[in-house]
Symmetry: C2
Subunit: 315 residues, 2 copies
Amino acid sequence: MQTNLSELRCVVMGGGGFVGTNLCQSLAPKVAELRGFGRRQGFPGAIPASTTWIPGDFSDSSSVAAAVAGMDVVFHLISATTPASSNVDKVADIEANLIGTLRMLEACRMQSVKRVVFVSSGGAIYGASQMIPTPEDAPTNPLNSYGISKLAIEKYLNLYNHLYGLDYRILRVSNPYGPYQTALRNQGAIAAFLTRALMGKSIEVWGDGSVARDYVYVSDVVAALEMAAIDQGEERIFNIGSATSRTLLEVIELIENLLGEKISIQFGHGRKLDTPVSRLNTDRARLNLGWEPKVDLEQGLKLTLSWMKAQTCFR
Amino acid sequence: MQTNLSELRCVVMGGGGFVGTNLCQSLAPKVAELRGFGRRQGFPGAIPASTTWIPGDFSDSSSVAAAVAGMDVVFHLISATTPASSNVDKVADIEANLIGTLRMLEACRMQSVKRVVFVSSGGAIYGASQMIPTPEDAPTNPLNSYGISKLAIEKYLNLYNHLYGLDYRILRVSNPYGPYQTALRNQGAIAAFLTRALMGKSIEVWGDGSVARDYVYVSDVVAALEMAAIDQGEERIFNIGSATSRTLLEVIELIENLLGEKISIQFGHGRKLDTPVSRLNTDRARLNLGWEPKVDLEQGLKLTLSWMKAQTCFR
């Protein structure tokens, strides 16, 4: 495995999504070759022109095989469901995410891909953990199908490494936010809150707003993904988060401070799938990858807000 | 939940298989109502006449729904693959075992089943464990798709309990052996060895014979299943094994002693999926279920041999 990004041919599966778009922007000038794969680009024009865009559906195994052919590193960022939607149809969740990924792993094996870097879920995979902040070796009892699929994918990565020598790294990312995250697909509270606030509308909060999450800015996630692509260490699973947590009400207060105005809040019923506090222990990533988050929540919200204001829809 | 078997209506999913046949024989006189479900009865006539037999395929969700309707306890013993076969087509393994089980859980939820007792795999679920004997909270890194499917099913049982209150118990059974296990479906070394020995043929051993497994006699497994059906404790996952392990060569030696003759051994290549030693820590089952194995390997082999000799095919 090369230890230098500049020698690597990489494909970003899910390159048109939130984290994928940010990753493509960062990787494009650094790697030997870059491809993006996905149904569509969420923000046409945001992916650098030097990136080869391969349109395709993750359920179409021949498209997936074409996307990974000749690549050294496959970044796997595709998820067809959200934590909330996954519980509605668990069979569909497994078919889209788990079986889709297995077909991709089979293609990686056939095409002699060297490494898969998988974005797992630091928020969903542990369930209601007894250990806060939660380390990588804590029990994994997901409270949604989304988390179970991610966990099963982690186990198949281990199996493919054991059987066929396909290398891998897993990043259990907490709650990422930042530019290119949209409120449309229920991707995250911050995108939803900022969008509502910018439109001058009230914010809907499920529960009493005391639910606390570990928010991590997307450029820090991208940095971890790049480090994971070339890491030569023994560990394969890394928590990626801010190692702090903020309640929904605290996030709203920060947004109010940024905007200089009060936001109206509507409280709704709490969802059964919510765990009260999620905060990751990121010591392993700090120690083994040399990674640490550089953008705190105040700064990240400011950057995200600036980006949102520059988008046509808010102008 | 009743604490007495005699009040319970039970269905054994996979009732025609090895463990299922033994379980039906034991349960039939003890419970309020007993059904067996499966494609076929492995040994027609072995299931007691008081058991209602429901023929059906696990992939047919309406048959499965009919089988669990009105039942208090569902014993889930169905597995469409073996550890070895599961790696050949991992997608098929997930579809048959994991998705089939999800459809069954959905039926259990709709039909207000009270508890599911699931036979998981103590041999496959931990992978090559660092901790021997292996306790329930050891890391779970299966080295075959069979084990990953079992692990994902365990996680869905936890999710169904969280979302819908469906109670469950999980038995991670090591290597069960005994009457009604056959050499046909690659179910276990002991059935294969005894069959070959009785036919006067040589035994094929993959590897050098030093692979050690934790063999548990089927009546002990059945006792644990019955205890799990009525258990009122806090724990939900229990290792079930002999807490000892024997190498393949040791097993063959015991069989030679029983038969009073030497057996010819052919050594073949070791399989990649074999972990060198598997032995379970069963303290939790002893402490919380009051369970302990009653039949040691010498005695169990003798009982199994007697049963085999009574079968038409060896007479």
